[in-house]
Symmetry: C2
Subunit: 354 residues, 2 copies
Amino acid sequence: MSDDKVIPLTKDSRTQARPLTLKDVSLASGVSEMTVSRVLRNRGDVSDATREKVLRAAKELGYVPNRIAGALASNQVNLVAVIIPSLSNMVFPEVLTGISEVLDETPLQSVVGVTNYLPEKEEQVLFQMLSWRPSGVIIAGIEHSDASRAMLAASGIPVVEIMDTDGECIDSVVGISHRRAGREMAAQIARYGYRRIGFLGTKMPMDHRARKRFEGFTEALAKEGIEVAAQEFYDGGSSLAKGRELTECILTRCPDLDFIYYSNDMIGAGGLLYLLDKGIDVPGQIGLAGFNGSELLDGISVKLATMDAGRRETGRKAAEIVLERNEEGNGAEHRRVELTPQIQFGDTLRRKGH
Amino acid sequence: MSDDKVIPLTKDSRTQARPLTLKDVSLASGVSEMTVSRVLRNRGDVSDATREKVLRAAKELGYVPNRIAGALASNQVNLVAVIIPSLSNMVFPEVLTGISEVLDETPLQSVVGVTNYLPEKEEQVLFQMLSWRPSGVIIAGIEHSDASRAMLAASGIPVVEIMDTDGECIDSVVGISHRRAGREMAAQIARYGYRRIGFLGTKMPMDHRARKRFEGFTEALAKEGIEVAAQEFYDGGSSLAKGRELTECILTRCPDLDFIYYSNDMIGAGGLLYLLDKGIDVPGQIGLAGFNGSELLDGISVKLATMDAGRRETGRKAAEIVLERNEEGNGAEHRRVELTPQIQFGDTLRRKGH
DNA sequence: TTGAAAGCGCTAACAT
DNA sequence: ATGTTAGCGCTTTCAA
């Protein structure tokens, strides 16, 4: 970006002074406000004649209902609060997509809040969201401050925690066990004969899910008598460049690694590209695996091993639970849905020496 | 994903029957509702003693204000509606990030609606959003249905159209001229001596901005007496894989191309990786350029030429305009902010034969 | 099938 | 510094 031209326009508009109300439509159509309300919501019995009249009047005036008032009167808010740590990591937009897919067929609508991985911010965002009295909350992770948990528990609305099943949930939960994901990847790597294994991931306090994968990973390796030979942690967002840099770094420190496990596909792909550039044989000399199952990166000639965390599916399921919990009478039980990701071997994880 | 275990829990909660109201806090603290309201909003003069009392009572009870009621009473909704075509293209989350950065310091909060590039869906989403009486609307693009334009114009709230300045705006606009972006890239490519130029992009009716870039591109080439030698269009999302595939495709049809202009960096990078894999000399044999300035892809060894569309900046500016328009008294003019993207040459665009 | 009255929970505006 | 009153625009409930 260079200079920004700022050109104030002259034309003067801001047409409307007061937004229209039901009353305006009532007057215009010669029908009581109540009946107008009924027509606009398709509720109760209204004769076709009046329905016509009302609809026409509303359309002609350009009436837009005031949901604030409607929500207050009916004590019903068709909003679902969705709270996620970030929008920069595609994982979360993908979950949102799953949620929208399901909610789009219903009167419910999602509202997104972003926490930047900060518990304090999460608390604020949550408070803000709850103050709109949404029909449900879908929130990433199961680690929350005491205050957040208290708010959620007390809210009396369905709460679905997503993307992590390792721990106690407040109400319902959908996701995968990251400990198990880490364990299974470690087991597979060990089974394939790798022994000098490095790990590369985000700084852990930020990201509980990455931490749990790492814990599961080291735990399972330990069971095979293997210790992680080297590890490297980084702050901030993941990018190909970061993956490159850290891979170079870890291999300088520890050139005899025969495998690197990355905490996500983005840095994994960066590492992969780096190794390919260097002419290093992958997975002959060194095997690699990431995490997420990012289709985004599928076009790299050598496909990185990974594990699909089922983000779309998670979003869909979470939305379905909120819906289910909103249908009164229905069993409306607490739910625990654990998705089981499979290893995708790609081209970078195969039996050593094969 | 394989089988999903669905384990209904047994514990029974849904604690609270009726959410707390101001009245509850009033009773608990022995202070009038009005004063409680004042304390909770930091408004007017309240003695430190009563403030303390109220705050303590509110905290102990776990009171969460009901904004629905507050908004109705005060006729003030601190929501900004943000309407975008998609979350799958990182461009939009990046704009959202810019918006949030600015709004986070204010009482305003953004609410996102997604249109899937469908004008009809845009209309619905817009109607939904407007029914919440937001303090402003930030909407991607300047092409909208008549009904949408009418709603926006009649809403009486600030409307900022973003990411495209090629055309008439309703109220204010922030973004770049995609025609100009296309023209400038074409001019540069021509200046550098390329003559057999291909274009690769999304199907146009979907994406006005891509279309305008293409139009600007062909127009500027025409001025140099050059015609686009081959073009390839695709549906659906952009990915590295798609870029690969289409690049192979266009080069099969037209093997003598010396340049390919891609409608975004993702497919551009896919093409780049394909050519590198094939051992083709880039840019010696064929030059490449994309669009967006995606930092995401920075880790590829050969850096794709591109143009930064200033997404964060666009989001920030749009949010600032909404804020400005909400400060009464202030000039509150209509604004037109045209950002001017610069070509980033990377490694794939240089004078032919150098 | 339609209408009238009474709030929803909060805040603006006005007392005190 | 605090309290009282009267709505905000809609829907629920009850009556016709």
